[in-house]
Symmetry: D2
Subunit: 378 residues, 4 copies
């Protein structure tokens, strides 16, 4: 990891921590390069639980707040205020919390989906642009070094013009060691979409991120196959990108034995790439002529932007937290320079957050229109 900012940032967090809660991953990732220190937070709706987590995290009890509004207000008033807040709460609360912190001049790092409507997402984006604050969206998988390398290879024309993009995310919530996130099955908190919001938006982002192409229309068949899932738990989605490029996207949470089976295949006229999240240090490149090539993180063909996002020698595996840390360090760089240049930066911003929302709502509309092709509203 190179090009670190010259000071350590102060981080706050609103969201669950411990067990399977994703807050723990945010915190560990933020620590890895030594450029963030967690100093404040709301870690539960239960203030007592928040205090207990704060003790575990060695945080000043005075900065373990009962709710996010109080946190935003009090932190904004401190001379050692947090530089940024991480929001990793259920989907339905992202909009309100992000607004509260942006209003207080605090940079925001938000889990996907950024909001429940495109209007909300665009509103947040407008506020971030207006205030010059960072509004990052944690599409973590896009920060794996090999994903960056894939993007570089496409941009460099090593695959030729892209013809098709295949992406899938097969999982089974119950295969995880930790308990499933119950709110993901609760329409009141998750929104209109189930697995499409939880996993599909990641797959969609990866497809656009690596190909550098925008999806124009999609046709989606959503289903709830497990009777215990009120929202969609399986989706087959046909994508049409700009220029007639085709795509297939599948996501499901009813795939026994599949943990976080996110996989990408990108086909160009001159070559193809295949990458799998569960073995993120490897990627197969098939040039149009000659045999396939096994690319490794940190290996002899690593691209500059991939190398910038790796810390250890090839063959010593990096994983999810390292990818996540890449986002935190990239965000710190932008904050250190006052927020400038975030759209060209190394992390997804509100624009990509809004496209994710547009994607999931387009899938919903298509599914309710007999799988007709519908445009993305953004």
């Amino acid at each position: 990891m190179t090009d670190l900012p010259s000071r350590r940032m102060r981080l706050g967090l609103v969201g669950g921590v411990g067990g399977s809660a994703v807050g723990s991953s945010h915190i560990a990732a933020a620590r890895l390069d030594g450029r963030w220190e967690l100093v404040a937070g709301v870690f539960s709706r239960d203030p007592g639980r928040t205090q207990a987590v704060a003790r575990e995290l060695l945080i000043d009890p005075a900065r373990a707040y009962p709710d996010f509004n109080q946190m935003a207000a009090e932190e904004a008033g401190r001379s050692d205020a947090i530089d940024a807040v991480t929001i990793c709460t259920p989907n339905d609360t992202h909009f309100e919390i992000a607004n509260a912190f942006l209003d207080k001049g605090i940079h925001v790092i938000c889990d996907k989906p950024l909001a429940l409507s495109v209007e909300q997402a665009c509103g947040l984006r407008a506020k971030a642009l207006e205030t010059g604050l960072v509004l990052a969206v944690t599409y973590t998988y896009s920060a794996y070094p090999m994903v960056r390398m894939a993007r570089d290879m496409v941009a460099d024309g090593q695959l030729g013009p892209i013809r098709a993009v295949h992406v899938e995310y097969a999982s089974h919530y119950q295969t995880e060691r930790f308990a499933p996130k119950d709110w993901q099955h609760d329409p009141a908190k998750a929104g209109l979409l189930g697995v499409v919001a939880a996993l599909g938006t990641h797959a969609f982002h990866l497809a656009e991120f690596v190909s550098g192409l925008r999806v124009e229309t999609l046709a989606a068949d959503l289903a709830s196959l497990d009777p215990d899932h009120p929202l969609d738990d399986h989706a087959g989605i046909l994508l049409r990108f700009e220029g007639g490029v085709r795509g297939c996207l599948m996501c499901t949470s009813v795939a026994h034995g599949h943990e976080n089976g996110l996989a990408l295949r990108i086909l160009g006229s001159k070559g193809a790439l295949v990458w799998r999240q569960e073995q993120p240090d490897f990627m197969v490149f098939s040039p149009g002529a000659g045999p396939s090539v096994l690319l490794t993180r940190g290996g002899p063909s690593s691209s500059a932007s991939a190398n910038r996002m790796t810390r250890i020698a090839a063959g010593h595996p990096e994983g999810y937290l390292e990818a996540f840390a890449n986002l935190y360090t990239a965000i710190a760089r932008v904050i250190a320079r006052g927020g400038e240049g975030q759209d060209g930066a190394d992390f997804p911003t509100a624009h990509e957050g809004a496209r994710g929302v547009a994607f999931m709502l387009a899938a919903f509309r298509s599914a309710h229109a007999q799988t007709a092709f519908v445009p993305l509203d953004l």
Copy 2:
């Protein structure tokens, strides 16, 4: 391989032999269990080439015919007539040739797609039923032992009710060692469909064969992504099986580095299976509880019908020709008992051939109706 018929069958073949021509695979497969002997054929439109191939194959020159009509007529008149004929010609000729041999009372083994229209396919099926002759369709992949085991496991309820079936066939004709089959890009010979006919029908058959479920409707997005391909070379197809089971099918011939990347994933309420044709001796079974299990051909959990289709010890790989041979031996068994019971036999028949044709034409109709869901006409 057990339960061999008590005599050796005489086989004729109409189709190309040598180089990349699939005829060579038919012949090698037929030989493997010692129950077929190739004795006659039309190996080219060029009679001189047919004679040359016959010499190479050690066949009596008198039985190397200039055309299939003459072959059918002369063979039918011999006391040592062929028992069956293999048809491995371009798609547009299957119907006519199959008819000619059925009319002479000769059993038929035909490549897929069985015909270019459902009507043709059903006509052939009717004739086979009427005459009691075998009309086998070589969906070869369904004869791998692990595919049989997958089917058994589904039928036994080890996966619980099926929820979704994912199948894909990613390939690049140019990655093959041998020259591509040029006629596959010629609408006059291939028919209306390109990769959907060439590869998609295999994927479709595999999905129905293993799941034991019928596809009721489908929505297809077909594209020709390589400008040199007049017919479709990429398809994303959403499937709906009986009972609301969902499916995703992708097939393409523009996937550099992909050779014969046929893969199946089947998700049930109690477990999931994953199988890949390029490593056919392995299959991963993920039960709902506990870790995934690596099943191997001939290994400790092999099912009876899988074991019936394997010849050598576990860890000594079997491949495509062995799967193909399984079909030939299964066909020989039925012919040996006079053709009875072919629909319950171990090989695909005209019914499955007709469904493949219905599938590809439904995909064509859907693609020309803005990817609307359309029913399979059979």
Copy 3:
């Protein structure tokens, strides 16, 4: 498969057929290219069982013999005598049976180990040289196309001077579908060596075959780790090849879950190769500069000698029987030209058979001399 001989050879077989008996593999392999027909044999010590097998194999009952001496004598007297005999009996009988057929002017194809002593093996070799008869030894693994390609790449200098060769064969007889070969645990039939004879000789041959280097000395630690195994079932062997090249060889039959885990790694100053028997169509080549390359059978970089030994398109897997068939076809070619040039031919001969015997006996001597380095006596 190209360059087929112009006639079909008549084959006899002495050895068990059916179930796990290796005879069945010999027969299927011999059939594959249509250049061998099994016409005679001794298939059991029990003449009744031999007759039953002959019926199953559609062989003339008059050529199903009660013992190998009678078979050699009677066949030699027929105008349609067998061209060659396959010997796949327990180790202790190879010498006697091979002698009997060579004495009658019949070519011999013998399982490894060729004999129980170097003297026996050299005696057989001398007789073959004298008579001009083929004496082939079925080191089957050396006939996989990718193994041929590996050998070509080494010979072409693509790896630079070889530095080290690692080879292992991990198995567990009980993991096989079929019953273990009981005689392999019987010193009276197997000889002095257990797993070193059964599996180690294959690994040793592969190491010499691909590297093109001769092992000069070795140091072996043999053990019987399963109390039910009177002979060695685990061996760690350090090899020193000519020129100071190092080698490590491990073989064992007590590796639960390992079926036929034969694997080869060859390290040169300019590159490295890795190949695994259980996925024989793949090989990884790591050049000194740049990333590793995934080579596939029939793929874009296949060598001429590899392509000569493959039948079907890349991505349609070939397996063990196809490798085995490569030996049979190569042997037929030499027999068709009267036995000339067998040492430069595409199959292992008595010389390699004798080296295998020398290897296993050297391992035995070393193990009984506190693992001292000992020379191979040949």
Copy 4:
């Protein structure tokens, strides 16, 4: 990660940081769970470079020392002295530096090999025991969750009595992204052993750690195969563990394309395990009966001690830094309770460090005695 100590420890570091230097990995690993803060160090023999690194690391310049003696002395005198020092310098300096800090009452975390002689290592161990200070040795690979699970499974008898242990470490220093550690080829700094010290000691530790068995004697064949390597770069080592258990160990640094190819296979009478460092979240368990099982980190069969060492959900890969962090957190726990119980703790101590030294020197002795079996001197 559970059971965190109740305060954050202060860490010092003596060793190179940046680029390929392992110091960067120590620092990142120490940060991950938020229980260590790096506050002091000697980061180079060049004081200017040390100051520059300190700036990059946001460390007080006053605690960036010109040499380790000064650091030990000054830190010992501070009220906010470091709790522990990490030593990641060339092998020849470990002993002296470790002594210096132990003498000042500071806990020590040292890279392997702990020292250049068994006497040195035992001296350090005696001092640690006497003073009650922690002396941890960073056999990092032993801290992967799946390695812990393997150890648990062996200890629980799931494999039955162990019969054999195979371990290898194939690498090529030049395949790493970063420059090789030049001193590893300098006998003056590295000691008598090259790859055996650098990689072999890791493999040896893993073998003993997982099996729970002690190696009693070994026979080693060492070679320097690359003319640029004055020390051994290839070793084949036969191991004999207590109770007659056999082992094979291979390590090399001349394996092109191999990055950190550490792999373990452990064979018991009732089952077998295979684990590979480059895909550390997976392990294959082959029970004596039934098919092999694919175990995943955090998956349904994870053992308690494995789960204690994992932070994120299954399918979100963990890597080398997470394993390394497991050591740091385990060390922090023991320091937090005053150093008690370090031998029963979750990290390797001086005893294991000393055995590693004994192993490498035994290999040296054996190699200079014609590969005779020699005992480990400890």
